[in-house]
């Protein structure tokens, strides 16, 4: 029953977002074109250097392309569902967060899912198609681990967005925080193994970008040990728990200013 209520809420807000997008077709077309250009430019770059370089830290260019596609897959899914956090700052500044807090739906759910970004769907479709075409034969065990780690990726992505929202409540700063995360996550367009150990450690243990984007791709190639898989699951659960704790702490500091 509770799940049905959440589904209806999400469908309704998504429908409203979709209507606003089709009401302004030119803007939507320009946004989609920009997103596709960014994607194809990077893909084109990787393919262009294929003849010029052999390996990057043990990975060949075909493998780098797969890592890049999987990065896009999770990045797009994250933006598709959690775009709402980009609008959250105005809610805090205006005090409109009050309206979300008093509704019988989890405020976090309302904040994160309020603007389903349909403009990411064309690129998502293209990414999935290219991924299916370019993906080498993968053992079913690896597909299974990839599926499991994909869920874990989504859990960590959710936790990151909760952290950003909570930081927003405390500092009223959201835009830069989420863009810093986006800039950092851009480093995972290639496997994080190519970076120095200290950078790799930072991208795994501090800002877990490697766990979100690189680990599922590595699972496809069977490059993860069982210990690392269990460690990732454990880390994700703790990270998610801490993000919720931080969110509830942040709400205690919310002053409802301007409302």
């Amino acid at each position: 029953m509770k799940l049905k209520r959440y589904l209806i809420y999400w469908l309704k807000t998504s429908e409203l977002t979709f209507e606003s997008l089709i009401a302004d077709k030119l803007s939507s077309t320009l946004f989609i074109s920009g997103k596709l250009l960014r994607f194809f430019f990077m893909l084109g770059f990787l393919l262009a250097i294929k003849e010029k370089i052999k390996l990057v830290s043990g990975y060949n260019i075909d493998q780098l392309v797969i890592f890049f596609l999987i990065y896009n897959l999770f990045d797009l899914v994250g933006q598709l569902f959690y775009r709402g956090v980009y609008w959250f700052r105005s809610d805090i500044l205006s005090g409109d967060l009050d309206f979300k807090l008093v509704k019988p739906i989890n405020p976090l759910f309302q904040i994160l899912t309020s603007h389903t970004d349909f403009l990411d769907i064309p690129q998502l479709f293209i990414v999935v198609v290219i991924l299916i075409i370019r993906l080498p034969h993968v053992a079913w065990q690896n597909v299974l681990v990839f599926s499991l780690l994909s869920l874990i990726s989504m859990l960590i992505l959710t936790a990151v967005h909760i952290f950003v929202a909570a930081l927003g409540v405390i500092t009223t700063e959201v835009d830069h925080t989420i863009w810093i995360f986006r800039s950092l996550s851009g480093m995972a367009q290639v496997p994080i193994d190519i970076y120095s150990p200290s950078v790799r450690g930072f991208l795994t243990f501090v800002i877990p970008i490697g766990l979100i984007f690189t680990f599922p791709a590595k699972a496809l190639y069977g490059l993860l040990t069982p210990a690392l898989i269990f460690w990732t699951i454990g880390f994700a659960l703790v990270f998610y728990y801490l993000s919720l704790k931080f969110w509830y702490y942040s709400l205690k500091t919310y002053a409802s200013a301007s409302s």
């Binding site: 920009g34 990077m42 052999k54």
Partner: protein, 263 residues
């Protein structure tokens, strides 16, 4: 002149009032630089020569690109787009102030502020990363072409802002978003453009974007001869004049179309 100096000072005060905002912006800028540097470092560690670039040339390219990003591509004049879309342009049209000069001053102030912070950051990163930097033999030519490139970008960016005269939806942001995506790649700010096949490089040569970062960078790296340097200056000047004239034409037409939406 005095009023523009005042605008310059106010722009600095404004930026430094919202310190957290400014610090976060610098953090984003640093992350962008580091991401690009570390990516190319990993590539040159495995490959000693990529399309004629040895490791020191390639890493210098990234350092110089970071400088050019701060000098050429940093700008606040996209705010004009918001003012046109929201009808706030009216406030300026009735003041004894050149709107174009106003944003040029604010842009200069922003570039000066960003460059002063960037100078400190880059020295710190140079000391930490210790890359082998290639020194230029054409410092004055590099500074001159960078200045022209900054001016070219200003005209280009202002031209993009005029889109809001006809489409004020989303503060004119959709067209600018497309422009930024094009610019990010075609300017060569994170990827040296001559890594691509020669046929594609020829396309880059005729577009104005490559004269913002890639060609100034080539002058720093001593990868162009005297004739090529003259060509770069001539083409950059051509684009500068062309965009200035186009901008004037579009601005006049835009003002005729302007109806102060949102006021």
């Amino acid at each position: 002149m005095k009023k523009y100096w005042l605008i310059f000072r106010l722009s600095w005060q404004n930026a430094l009032t919202y310190r957290l905002n400014f610090v976060m912006w610098r953090v984003r800028s640093i992350i962008g630089f580091l991401a690009s540097y570390l990516f190319w470092l990993a590539i040159v560690n495995s490959n000693q020569n990529i399309a004629g670039y040895n490791p020191s040339l390639l890493l210098t390219y990234i350092f110089v690109s970071a400088f050019l990003r701060n000098l050429v591509l940093s700008n606040v004049s996209y705010g004009a787009c918001v003012e046109i879309a929201g009808g706030d342009l009216s406030n300026y049209l009735i003041k004894p102030l050149g709107y174009f000069k106003y944003w040029l001053t604010r842009d200069l102030a922003d570039k000066a502020l960003n460059l002063s912070f960037f100078s400190v950051e880059i020295i710190i990163f140079y000391l930490i990363l210790k890359p082998q930097i290639v020194l230029t033999q054409h410092l004055w030519l590099f500074l001159a072409i960078s200045f022209l490139a900054a001016l070219l970008y200003f005209f280009l960016s202002f031209l993009i802002s005029t889109y809001a005269f006809w489409h004020p939806e989303h503060n004119g942001w959709p067209f600018r978003f497309l422009f930024i995506m094009l610019l990010d790649f075609l300017s060569g700010s994170s990827i040296p453009l001559d890594i691509f096949p020669p046929q594609i490089v020829k396309i880059f040569q005729v577009l104005p974007f490559s004269y913002l970062v890639f060609y100034p960078n080539q002058i720093w790296l001593n990868r162009v001869n005297t004739n090529q340097i003259i060509n770069i200056f001539l083409i950059t000047s051509f684009w500068l004049i062309a965009f200035y004239l186009i901008f004037r034409l579009v601005w006049r037409r835009g003002l005729k179309n302007y109806s102060a939406y949102g006021r």
